[in-house]
């Protein structure tokens, strides 16, 4: 994002809206710290500027800066997935797609959440730790695949190292017995990461909204607990009879 200096009246109203804290006073006008800016567009969408001085920067869709936009602006459709959002459809449509089967477990690693964002150098710490533990099963349509240079080492593409994103979701699908080692790896790498990430576990339910005991036991054995609120697929979606293109 950028603020046109010749228009800005220095009222500062836009500054609190920026999730990155990237808007600051440069003498008497507001300016955007390009290093900090996530290109999320919140300042522009707020329509708070009385003189329309806020604009999208012309370079916002240039690679690799475009990554900031794709992973930070919920309205931006990711070029790889065609989905607006940080990951894929994960559990939301599982009743129609059955992507996570009865013996599977999905794991989502939401880097930068809540609220803080993360630079790609820190994200690479996670991808490298996962690769080192032999975990390379990132969901095929997940946009993380587009950032990875070598899935065996977990190295990200070097040109991305200067970028940062508000949130990106790495999604993995494994068989239930493989959940433990992944949680262990995440617990270890969390000590090295200079930001935050959230871990989600996606599993099919047993009748009566019962979480499978095997999954619960694994989570507890690895020293994790789950929050009392969760996202639940209500089981009324279904696939069309005719296959879509």
């Amino acid at each position: 994002m950028l603020i046109r200096k010749e228009r800005c009246v220095g009222c500062g109203r836009c500054q609190p809206y920026c999730p990155a804290g990237a808007i600051y006073f440069e003498e008497i006008k507001s300016a955007v710290d390009q290093e900090k800016c996530y290109e999320c567009g919140t300042c522009l969408r707020s329509q708070i500027c009385p003189v329309e001085a806020i604009e999208e920067s012309p370079q916002v869709y240039d690679y690799p800066r475009a990554l900031r936009k794709y992973f930070s602006d919920p309205n931006a459709t990711h070029a790889l997935t065609g989905i607006a959002g940080r990951g894929t459809e994960e559990s939301k449509t599982n009743d129609a797609t059955n992507r996570v089967g009865p013996d599977d477990v999905g794991i989502a690693i939401e880097v930068g959440r809540p609220t803080m964002g993360m630079d790609l150098t820190n994200i690479q710490k996670i991808t490298r730790a996962m690769a080192k533990a032999g975990i390379t099963a990132i969901e095929p349509e997940n946009p993380f695949n587009d950032m990875i240079l070598d899935s065996q080492t977990g190295d990200l593409k070097p040109e991305l190292m200067g970028e940062r994103v508000l949130s990106a979701i790495m999604e993995i699908k494994v068989k239930r017995p493989d959940l433990g080692p992944i949680l262990r790896t995440l617990k270890e790498v969390a000590k090295e990461v200079d930001s935050v990430f959230c871990v989600d576990v996606i599993t099919r339910l047993e009748p009566g909204l019962t979480i499978p005991l095997e999954v619960i036991k694994t989570i507890e054995a690895e020293g994790f607990t789950w929050r009392p609120n969760a996202k639940i697929n209500m089981g009324i979606g279904r696939a069309n009879k005719r296959k879509e293109s």
């Binding site: 609120n229 996202k231 697929n233 979606g237």
Partner: protein
């Protein structure tokens, strides 16, 4: 879109709040979903959610948008996002959605125990759960919990901690009332799931605890 999964706050507030999504599946029931999504959006609107929007016109309930504009914008693959203020409203909405039988996926975010009860009462059989195992990493860098209970209502992180503090300051100095402040806090969320009723309640609790140095 795990962005409704990590809402923080006291259990008595979480207990009264349920996020509901209507979500067609790309490659499975996406094509031809337009009229189904429109019918579901209309149904949800009549159940008086605390906030709402459709993905094809990302203007929330308090933006001045007319519901007819939302419904007219809907096309194949559109999603509907909303948040309800109590379990009875959610139950009524789910019961009617079930009766419609449009075949589109419905997600509910809320306290697991409460959603279990509501699903049973509505005759639904939940299929999949997404559990949050909480925050990992350098948590010292996070904003404090009293600010996070506002910011995590938008899981995409669009509600800045600075905006929460700014709204607190403006209420404290008499420039805004609680409801006006809550509407401002709901505005950056482009999914329409920040609940201004809950924000207003939390602001009332929080305001006496803050001091401001600028009148």
């Amino acid at each position: 879109m795990t962005h409704s999964l990590h809402r923080e706050g006291p259990i008595d507030l979480l207990e009264r709040e349920y996020v509901l999504f209507v979500y067609p599946a790309r490659g499975f029931n996406y094509e031809g979903s337009e009229p189904k999504i429109r019918r579901l959006a209309e149904l949800i609107y009549t159940q008086k959610p605390a906030n709402m929007l459709v993905s094809t016109l990302r203007k929330n309930l308090y933006s001045g948008v007319k519901p007819e504009e939302w419904f007219a914008s809907i096309k194949d693959g559109a999603k509907v996002y909303c948040v309800f203020n109590n379990r009875e409203q959610l139950k009524k909405a789910l019961t009617r959605i079930k009766e419609k039988d449009e075949g589109i996926s419905i997600m509910v975010s809320g306290l697991i125990d409460r959603v279990r009860e509501i699903a049973a009462e509505a005759g639904l059989h939940p299929h999949t759960i997404n559990l949050s195992l909480g925050i990992q990493g350098n948590k010292d860098r996070l904003p404090p919990p009293d600010i996070r209970q506002f910011t995590t209502m938008c899981g995409h992180g669009m509600v800045s901690p600075k905006l929460v503090r700014d709204v607190i300051r403006r209420i404290k100095t008499g420039k805004l009332d609680f409801w006006e402040g809550s509407i401002i806090l709901a505005s950056p969320c482009t999914c329409g799931i920040v609940n201004p009723y809950r924000s207003a309640e939390m602001l009332k609790d929080l305001i006496p605890l803050y001091t401001v140095n600028q009148l």
